[in-house]
Amino acid sequence: MRELSKMVKNIAIIGNGCAAVECIKALRECGCNDTIHLFSDHSYPVYNPMLTTYYVAGKIDFSKLFPFGTNDELARTFNVRFHTRSPVMTLDTTEKVIVTADGLAVSYDRCLIASGASPVRPPIEGIHSGRVYTMRTVEDAIGLKTALEQKPTRVLVVGASMVGIKLVELFRAAGIDVCLADLATHLFPAAAHPDCAAVLAERLRENGVDLRFGTSLTRLEESGAGLLAYFAGDTMPERVDLAVICIGVRANTAFVDRNCIDTAAGVLVNERMETNVHGVYAAGDVAQGRNLLTGQPQIVGLWSNARYQGRTAGRNMAGEHDVFPGNIPHNITHFMNMDFIGIGDVKNYDKMRKYWDGNHFIQLFWQEGLITGANLVDSYTSSGVIRQALIKGLQQSCVHNQGTMPLVQDLLIRKIIMEVEQA
């Protein structure tokens, strides 16, 4: 085992995503001059997983996958020592040492866990076939783009998620027949109320998408040049050329000693992005911060969330005091010339109101007088105001919380609520 720079003060950053970059930027902006070591499993620059479908669809060039530029540029700008293709195998918080797969040991003073998340593949027969893809990494994008050059005629997308719907869009745009399947009974099961999902499902069917909900994929079998996909309770398989699995992601925590660092679905952090271990922080899709609606720890896997968390971690690691109090789950996805927006909790409510004029759909949910969730279709202009209202805990009447939001926001949310209430 090689040892590196045990005597100098080191900051170790595990992962090469936007949380890592924001942490590094914050460290340097706060005047921290310590040596920063960044460990990455791969050699690509920081990429945005959300952009992978845009690249596969041909909407952006390969270079646009990397919004922060190259590793060399980052290394020069922020004086960072990159360790690419160096997966971290052990994070020893007692000795304060990181050990990589190739045996490099680096001691650290402070450490950020920003290792992100990886797509989940269900443990079923045939899942590791070469015709089965996931969509998250640069390699995933290159693989699927290459597969599309073989001109598939029918594909299966498993997972009616935000990623799944973007895949459906790009396949349909390429003239490929698509079957979209999910174990859940409707689209966007985590973010959409069934009423809203029904509106979207109708539009998808009009766009020629086959929907297959409420059934689980049980087996995949290569057959000739294609795949046979078997679903529970159905003897006739789907015949497709390839399948893409996008049923969610799991935090990358294999190197984390769960006896030392508190974890649940991810690494648990407080509002300073500190773990329970002094000097160890976490940010991004691996970090489980606070859901502001429930007060419970939850991973909110969003680009902006990761950036805020990374920045907060960096400032605190530099000795400043900064907090990121938490977030609410929220998503917007623009596909097939429509928008779907899910904000907060749309499953638990004691009051619900719906506005639907055939073009615009707004559905608001309340719990004990507070707006706690929203679904919108083709109403993106209201989405930011509603999200802000949820975060600020604005009450339905707006009376009790007057003054908690800037006047303009306060008046805009009143207007939206009045329109929905009067529908």
């Binding site: 902006s304 989405s383 802000q388 008046l411 805009l412």
Partner: protein
């Protein structure tokens, strides 16, 4: 960040002159599917004595720590060094609408190509030492182009005047 545009809600009468001036300055043609950078909302509220109406002239607030910048997946939204405003590089915009859900003021709109179109703080005018077009044309003086401290001073002066007026008309309660 130095100056930005503030709205005095009590002064706005919803005339829409700011909207027209913005379109003129920025060559925005609604008939070509180009959305306005600035909009005026009429807000009605039922009060005991009848309906209370106010108007909001809303465009990008050029927030200091702008949520749209943090949400943008491509880096298309950045701080403009010259004006200090929040600017869009349309060549990087992919039309994903992430900025729409990030903006607390419901500002983002998209042009005919699906790319973000928003107030750029009249960068050409501001760089030439002029006020933004909407501010220049507002007949009520409801839109103010200044820095945060100056605007705060104006608010405090207005509050002090209100108190003085009340004392003049109702007395200060002291004998």
């Amino acid at each position: 960040m130095d100056k930005t545009i503030y709205l005095d809600v009590k002064r706005c009468v919803g005339c829409g002159a700011c909207v027209v001036a913005c379109m003129d300055q920025n060559d925005i043609y609604p008939e070509k599917g180009q959305p306005a950078n600035r909009r005026v909302y009429q807000i009605e509220e039922n009060q005991d004595q009848g309906i209370d109406i106010c108007y909001l002239s809303v465009a990008c607030q050029h927030c200091e720590d702008s949520p749209c910048t943090m949400a943008c997946p491509t880096g298309a939204i950045r701080r403009d060094a010259a004006t200090g405003g929040v600017a869009v590089n349309k060549s990087l915009c992919i039309g994903c609408h992430s900025c729409a859900i990030a903006c607390p003021f419901g500002v983002p709109r998209y042009d005919a190509e699906g790319k973000l179109q928003k107030c750029n703080l009249c960068s050409e005018r501001v760089e030439a030492g002029l006020e933004p077009a909407c501010v220049r044309v507002c007949p009520q003086g409801a839109l103010i182009f200044d820095n945060a401290n100056s605007v705060q001073s104006l608010k405090e002066a207005a509050a002090a005047n209100n108190i003085a007026r009340i004392i003049r008309t109702q007395g200060d309660g002291c004998n």
